[in-house]
């Protein structure tokens, strides 16, 4: 694909947040091009291109300017640590990043399993705590149940999964929701297109 031919390139995370993003952009007056088929990796039309990505890859594409802007959960932004503009809280995809343990756990935390190792480390440092962080890719709760770690840092939406697993949310470390992120160069050089979009999305979010 040749990016230069598009007025705007948008990076979106696959799944639920993608559908919500299409709806939000549509309400803000921008109809994003739809996928033509199951295996369509990127979609284009009307001078716009949409890149369908894993959520964790959205900050990378936007930071490096491959995409002009994108939508991503704040949880992922906190983990990515990239230098992006984050002008709008889109409101959907709300969840929290929490410290999770077994109800009977009273010992100090010594080993934490998480999909968010970088965030977890910086939280530990901010508290002056020392613990090992083990990076996992899924079913993180199992790490506590199976004895791999004595705590977990993970996203919690309703808490139903936790309760079913017999775990408790000890502390909320950060709150998350979908954010519009914009590349530093694009915000300035494409501001004729991006500024009205930001204004419209903000008006809808409040």
């Amino acid at each position: 694909m040749n990016r230069a031919g598009f007025e705007l390139t948008v990076a979106l995370p696959k799944g639920r947040m993608m559908a919500d993003s299409y709806a939000a952009f549509s309400r803000a007056g921008i109809e994003l091009p739809r996928a033509r088929g199951e295996r369509d990796l990127w979609h284009s039309g009307g001078g716009l291109a949409v890149l369908e990505l894993r959520g964790a890859d959205v900050p990378t594409y936007v930071d490096l300017g491959i995409a002009d802007l994108g939508v991503v959960g704040r949880d992922i932004l906190l983990e990515a640590g990239r230098d992006l503009y984050e002008p709008v809280d889109l409101g959907f995809g709300a969840c929290r990043l929490s410290l999770i343990r077994l109800p009977e756990a009273v010992t100090p935390v010594r080993r934490i399993a998480s999909k968010y190792p970088r965030f977890t480390q910086s939280w530990l440092r901010s508290r002056g705590m020392v613990a090992d962080v083990v990076k996992l890719h899924g079913n993180v709760e199992l790490a506590v149940l199976a004895g791999l770690a004595d705590a977990v840092v993970d996203v919690v939406q309703t808490g139903a999964t936790l309760r079913a697993a017999g775990l408790v949310e000890v502390e909320v470390l950060a709150r998350s929701s979908a954010r519009l992120v914009v590349n530093k160069s694009a915000l300035k050089l494409k501001r004729d297109v991006i500024r009205p979009l930001i204004d419209n999305l903000r008006a809808l979010a409040t």
């Binding site: 990016r3 230069a4 990378t60 936007v62 930071d63 490096l64 300017g65 491959i66 990239r82 992006l84 503009y85 984050e86 002008p87 709008v88 809280d89 914009v182 590349n183 530093k184 160069s185 694009a186 915000l187 300035k188 050089l189 501001r191 500024r195 903000r202 979010a205």
Partner: protein, 366 residues
């Protein structure tokens, strides 16, 4: 094997790098900027702005050294230790820098080159305008006519944050939210910290004060203290001194290293390239009384502009040293034959793209 984030620069690219640096050197020299050379090895200093990201090593006496990670600090330290800060000096520099943890990607390496200038020993809007114009010239020299300079005013952000009278911790949280243009979080923080009234409105307006010259008028409408108004006066004076055709973008919410820049901060962007091409500003008081300058990222600029795939081949393959000398003296690019085997030489010239073969008896059919 070379470490990740380092590169071999092969002939077409290496030649383009040297060519660009030579043109910049001549440009800076024509504006009166004299070259300086700085050591690559520095004594590790935890106060250095990039201390955490620099490569470190231990020398024979057990002292910790760091590889140069940034030029400005190095120049300012040279100015301080050589006692050069008392009157105006214009310096230019070029060389490599190293960062331990750079996220590697297009235009981001762990070993990279920069070229830049510093004007030390004097301050004022005229020098700031000079640096902006010189940066603009440097971008044109690099064949990036569509690149735009963007000017921010970290001093304004700093003065507004100082007016909140908050402690360093909350101030830096506000700063981070401003820098990311994260208005929802900024509003929340201001409410938490009890910042109210005109000051709250002014801080909350900062992230959206970007665009063209109209931004200045919008900033003037905010309730600003005397320090913040002085900052805007200075910026306005700088902008009035710019040459026709140089239309900068403004971003008054640009607050990177706001405790370091004492006045303006500027960057440059070019369409369809996501990273800044250069960065600079004024940092009076950061190690020496008056200093301002900018640095161009060589890799980024070449990445944004593109590098020729091939170098132009020499024009002639000479069969003997005498012919080679005679032709070189006329300004022709000549390669010397290494063998008498004419078939092999013809084959080589074809592969290398050399159009002519020449010997003591004149031209040989290629």
């Amino acid at each position: 094997m070379i470490p990740e984030g380092t590169r071999y620069h092969l002939p077409p690219e290496a030649a383009a790098r040297l060519d660009l640096q030579e043109r910049w050197r001549a440009l800076f020299a024509s504006w009166g900027y004299d070259p300086v050379e700085l050591p690559v090895l520095e004594v590790y200093d935890p106060e250095h702005p990039l201390a955490a990201r620099a490569f470190k090593m231990v020398d024979k006496s057990g002292r910790v050294l760091a590889l140069r990670a940034e030029f400005t600090t190095a120049v300012i330290r040279m100015v301080a230790s050589e006692g050069l800060g008392e009157e105006l000096h214009r310096f230019q520099y070029a060389g490599r820098l190293w960062l331990r943890d750079s996220e590697i990607g297009p235009g981001r390496l762990r070993e990279f080159a920069q070229m830049g200038v510093e004007a030390v020993g004097a301050s004022g809007p005229r020098l700031d305008a000079e640096l902006l114009e010189l940066a603009w010239e440097a971008l044109k020299t690099a064949d990036l006519p569509d690149a735009r300079l963007e000017v921010g005013l970290p001093a304004l952000v700093a003065d507004l944050l100082a007016a909140t009278e908050l402690a360093a911790g909350p101030r830096s949280s506000l700063h981070a939210a401003i820098e990311r243009k994260n208005i929802p979080e900024l509003a929340e923080l201001l409410a938490d910290y009890g910042v109210r009234g005109g000051l709250r409105r002014a801080v909350l307006a900062l992230p959206d004060l970007y665009g063209g010259i109209e931004v200045l008028a919008a900033a003037r409408r905010l309730e600003l203290g005397p320090a913040a108004r002085d900052d805007l006066d200075w910026l306005e004076e700088v902008l009035a001194l710019l040459p026709p055709g140089l239309e900068v973008l403004l971003d008054l919410g640009m607050a990177r290293a706001y405790d370091y820049y004492s006045g303006i901060h500027f960057r440059a962007y070019t369409p369809d390239f996501g990273l800044p091409l250069l960065g600079g500003g004024r940092y009076d008081g950061a190690g020496t009384r008056y200093a301002a300058g900018f640095a161009l990222g060589l890799e980024r600029i070449l990445e944004a502009r593109g590098v020729p795939r091939e170098l132009a081949a020499p024009q002639v393959l000479a069969l003997d040293p005498g012919t080679a000398r005679r032709l070189r003296a006329t300004g022709v690019r000549v390669e010397l034959a290494w063998t008498d085997d004419l078939e092999e030489l013809r084959d080589y010239a074809r592969r290398r793209g050399i159009a002519r073969i020449s010997g003591p008896e004149g031209e040989v059919s290629p």
